[in-house]
């Protein structure tokens, strides 16, 4: 097997692993986990009828999405109305292409051993790629709100995009601290730096807090889910969507949540690395993948926990928090990190 063929096969296998195995197992289980965690926190059982611990609830939920009638309201902009759910689903899915999910995996074929870095594309723009696609994801929400021809939907779409644009700035400045310290934008480089030195959450705790809060706003999760706000907007931008198209918004939100969790684990909690542990060989690589997924699942649990614990913010509180508190804080944090890096 030549090097080129091997690279092609390895990339294909990595794509298959990340999207088909990892995402297609985490995503449905997340829907189940959310409802069970909600039950646990609210001191009630949650869905526990379908399968052991209600584990197959997602099959029932999924079937419901498929079987429901898909209603398209009159006077919608058909093209944009149908396009919007796809745009929303995209950024959460493409993010995983640049996140390193394990140490290098040695593969021996025909007596030749090759090292496979466990990241689909180690691009040198790293997190900028993720921000670029998050920025495009806004269009899904705005267009869904506008094309539905419903005032509540439009309000939801406007709120969602204003919120994401506002918090994207703080998020970017917080993340810039990590890249200043590591001296590279490559996410694999950031993980290597953390393995050699210390997890970024320790020296950059302020940056981590800003990033965490901004991540809640970016994924439209409570306490920042003003774009949906059932009580005010009857569901917001996806009020007019039903059946499978609503299911795509639903999946898009969870895909974004997984992506944000994976990104936080990578930027601030060492990604696949553990302090004092070197992962070598096939079993080491597999263990590092397990470490990465454990950290990601930890953050996913945090998202669920917060959702069922905090009430929703008011819109002016949300904007004040973003522009008057988080943004200046991230500025000062970045200046402090830059001064520290320059002094070293």
């Amino acid at each position: 097997m030549s090097d080129a063929t091997f690279a092609l096969v390895a990339t294909g296998a990595k794509i298959l692993f990340v999207w088909v195995i990892a995402l297609a197992t985490i995503l449905p289980n997340l829907v189940w986990a959310e409802r069970r965690v909600a039950g646990m926190i609210q001191d009630r059982p949650g869905p526990n009828r379908v399968g052991p611990f209600g584990f197959f609830q997602i099959i029932a939920d999924g079937t419901k999405f498929f079987m429901k009638e898909s209603v398209t309201p009159l006077y919608v902009d058909k093209l944009l109305y149908n396009l919007a759910p796809w745009i929303t689903l995209m950024p959460g899915l493409v993010t995983f292409a640049v996140i390193p999910f394990g140490a290098t995996l040695p593969v021996t074929i025909g007596g030749v051993t090759r090292e496979v870095p466990l990241v689909i594309a180690d691009v040198n723009i790293g997190v900028l790629y993720i921000f670029a696609f998050t920025g495009l994801g806004i269009y899904g929400l705005v267009l869904a709100g506008w094309s539905s021809n419903n005032k509540y939907s439009l309000m939801g779409g406007l709120r969602a995009s204003a919120q994401i644009i506002s918090y994207e700035l703080s998020m970017g400045f917080a993340a810039a601290g990590v890249f200043l310290a590591a001296g590279t934008l490559r996410l694999a480089g950031v993980v290597e730096w953390q393995q050699a030195h210390v997890w970024n959450v320790v020296p950059q705790f302020v940056g981590f807090l800003v990033f965490l809060i901004a991540a809640f706003a970016e994924t439209n999760r409570l306490p920042f889910d003003l774009a949906e706000a059932e009580e005010e907007l009857a569901g917001g931008f996806h009020a007019e969507y039903s059946s499978f198209k609503f299911g795509m918004f639903f999946m898009g939100e969870y895909a974004n949540l997984i992506a944000a969790s994976a990104l936080m684990a990578t930027l601030y909690f060492g990604g696949w690395s553990l302090p004092g542990v070197t992962f070598t060989g096939v079993w080491g690589a597999l263990a590092s993948v397990a470490v990465f997924f454990a950290k990601t699942i930890g953050f996913i649990f945090l998202f669920l926990w917060v959702r069922w614990t905090f009430p929703r913010f008011r819109y002016d509180q949300l904007m004040d928090l973003g522009w008057k508190f988080l943004l200046p804080l991230s500025f000062f944090h970045l200046i402090a990190v830059a001064a520290f890096v320059a002094a070293k």
Binding site: D77, L79, L80, V123, N124, I125, L128, Y129, F131, A132, F133, T134, G135, L136, I138, Y139, V142, L143, W146, S147, L154, G157, L158, S161, I165, E168, T184, L185, R186
Partner: protein, 170 residues
């Protein structure tokens, strides 16, 4: 036919079609979306030129931020149908046609005069070495004056917008 040529054909075709759609389409919201697609296709072309940083900035700044503001304005003014011009001035169409022909001729001339393209550096589509430190060093040394002048210009524009919007409400 190499893979790069296929990607180039798709991306440039998409850029041309969506740019045309931006001008031709009657619904302003769809025009804005066409422009987003154009910028995205141009970003793909930047990646083909081994400039992924430019591509990312192009998408983040233009497609992700500026055009969202365009979309806001179009949506909030509720421009569902393009306002038909009441007084048709044929001179505008004529002027437009003349500019298109002039610009097209200029571009064609430059393209035809240009020699063979430089051989791309080894290392495939995305250079392995970080290009951002090089870019940063250039911005803060050779192009420092232009960089600072642009920063001041942006700051002035932001302050100006704030002053104008304040005056109306006081």
């Amino acid at each position: 036919m190499s893979l790069e040529l296929v990607v180039f054909a798709i991306a440039s075709g998409l850029a041309i079609v969506s740019a045309l759609a931006m001008v031709v389409v009657k619904t302003p919201v769809r025009s804005v979306i066409s422009l987003v697609v154009t910028f995205f296709a141009l970003a793909v072309l930047s990646i083909l030129l081994a400039a992924p940083f430019i591509a990312a900035i192009q998408v983040i700044v233009y497609a992700g931020a500026i055009l969202v503001l365009f979309l806001f304005v179009v949506m909030l003014l509720n421009l569902t149908k393009e306002a038909e011009a009441t007084d048709r001035r044929p001179i505008q169409k004529l002027l437009g046609l003349v500019s298109v022909v002039a610009l097209g001729g200029l571009l064609l001339g430059v393209t035809l005069r240009a020699g063979a393209p430089p051989v791309p550096a080894a290392g495939g589509l995305i250079p392995a070495k970080d290009e951002i430190p090089i870019l940063g060093r250039l911005l803060f040394s050779d192009y420092l004056l232009a960089f600072e002048a642009l920063s001041v210009l942006l700051l002035l524009a932001a302050v100006g917008a704030l002053v104008l919007s304040k005056r109306r409400f006081d």
